[in-house]
C-alpha cells in the first residue's frame, strides 16, 4: 500500500497547523485533547492520525489501558472521568454528523463540565482532528510517517 498522493499545499498545511495550535491552546488540557483526537481518528478510521496521536499520548504519560479502552469508553466505568466522558460524548456526536444533529443531551452534558470558552475550544479540537482525518484518509497517507 502506498499513499495516493503526498501533495498538500503549503498554505493549507500552515493554516491547519495554526488552527490546531489555537484550538489546543484554548482548551488547555493536552491529556484530554489527545483522548479526543484518538477517539475521532478511530471513528474516521485514520491510520496515520491514530499512529501519531497514540504516540503523543504515550509520551505525555497516557496509559496503554486507557488508550485501549477508548474504543469502548462508554462501558469502561471509572477509567475515564465524568469530564472526559462528556468530552468523548461530544466528540462522537460532532464526528458523526451525517446521522443527525448534535443531540441536546450530548451538548448539555458537555456544557456542564466545560465553561463557554473551553467548550468552544473543545469543539475546535474535535473539528481540527476531523479535518486532519479527512486530509490524511482521502490522500491515504500511511501510518508511521509521523516523527515527534
Amino acid at each position: 500500500m502506498s499513499a495516493r498522493t503526498t501533495h498538500l499545499d503549503k498554505g493549507v498545511g500552515t493554516a491547519m497547523s495554526a488552527l490546531s495550535a489555537a484550538a489546543k491552546k484554548g482548551l488547555g488540557d493536552p491529556v484530554l485533547a489527545e483522548l479526543v483526537m484518538i477517539r475521532a481518528s478511530q471513528l474516521n478510521a485514520c491510520a496515520f492520525c491514530l499512529d501519531m496521536h497514540v504516540d503523543i499520548a504515550v509520551r505525555n504519560g497516557e496509559t496503554a489501558k486507557r488508550i485501549a479502552l477508548l474504543n469502548a469508553w462508554a462501558e469502561a466505568g471509572e477509567v475515564f472521568s465524568e469530564r472526559e466522558r462528556a468530552a468523548l460524548t461530544l466528540t462522537e456526536a460532532v464526528t458523526v454528523l451525517t446521522d443527525g444533529f448534535v443531540p441536546d443531551e450530548a451538548y448539555e452534558v458537555a456544557a456542564k463540565h466545560f465553561d463557554e470558552a473551553e467548550l468552544a475550544h473543545l469543539i475546535g479540537v474535535i473539528t481540527v482532528i476531523n479535518s486532519w482525518n479527512r486530509l490524511m484518509v482521502s490522500r491515504r497517507i500511511e501510518p508511521g510517517g509521523y516523527a515527534p
Binding site: 488552527l19 489555537a22 451538548y107 456544557a111 470558552a117 469543539i123 479535518s131 479527512r134 486530509l135 484518509v137
Partner: protein
C-alpha cells in the same frame, strides 16, 4: 392546514412581509447554543485563513456545489443558507442547487468534473461508513490535476469543519446575505 394561505407563504421566513407573517405563523426561531466566534476568536481567525488557503485553485462553481452538498449531508442549516445564496449570487441555477440532493440521478445537470467532485465530497464527508473508495478517488484523479485535486480535498475538508462548528453550536440560518463572508 388552512385553505386561505397565501401562495407567497412558500418564501423563507426571513423574506416574509408582515402581511404574510400574519397569514401564516412560522415556528419560532431558535437561538444559537454558543457564540463560538466570541469565545474562540483565534480559532475563528485560523478558520478564515484556512478557508482562504483551501479555496485557492478550486473552480468557484465546483467549490459552491461541494460546499452545499457537504452541508446537506452534515445538516448544517447556516452553511446551506450561506452557500446556496452565494452560489445563486454567482450565477448558479436554482435547479442545479435543488438537484444536488439527488445528483446521482440528475448527473446530466452537471459536468463530469462536477460529478467527480460531488462523489469525492460525499466520500470525504461520510468517513465513518468506510474509507474513501479507490473508484471515487481515481475518477477524480483522472479529471483533476494533482494540485487541483488536493486543493479540492482541502476545500471539502474545510466545509466539513465549518459544518461542525455550525451544527454543534447550532448557528441560526436565514440572516446571511450573499457575499457577507467573501
Amino acid at each position: 392546514m388552512t385553505t386561505n394561505d397565501s401562495t407567497a407563504a412558500h418564501t423563507t421566513p426571513a423574506h416574509t412581509t408582515p402581511a404574510q407573517a400574519q397569514a401564516k405563523e412560522y415556528v419560532h426561531e431558535h437561538a444559537p447554543r454558543l457564540d463560538w466566534h466570541q469565545h474562540a476568536p483565534e480559532v475563528f481567525k485560523a478558520m478564515i485563513r484556512l478557508d482562504a488557503a483551501a479555496r485557492k485553485g478550486v473552480d468557484p462553481v465546483i467549490l459552491e456545489l461541494v460546499k452545499i452538498r457537504a452541508s446537506q449531508l452534515n445538516h448544517c442549516a447556516l452553511c446551506i443558507d450561506m452557500h446556496s445564496k452565494d452560489a445563486l449570487a454567482a450565477g448558479e441555477s436554482v435547479e442545479r442547487i435543488i438537484q444536488l440532493s439527488a445528483w446521482e440521478e440528475s448527473q446530466h445537470f452537471y459536468t463530469a468534473k462536477e460529478v467527480a467532485a460531488l462523489e469525492l465530497a460525499e466520500a470525504i464527508t461520510v468517513l465513518t461508513d468506510g474509507f474513501v473508495p479507490d473508484e471515487v478517488y481515481e475518477k477524480a484523479a483522472a479529471l483533476f490535476e494533482e494540485q487541483e485535486l488536493t486543493q479540492l480535498i482541502a476545500a471539502i475538508t474545510v466545509i466539513n469543519a465549518w459544518n461542525r462548528f455550525g451544527v454543534s453550536t447550532r448557528q441560526v440560518p436565514g440572516h446571511y446575505k450573499a457575499g457577507d463572508h467573501k
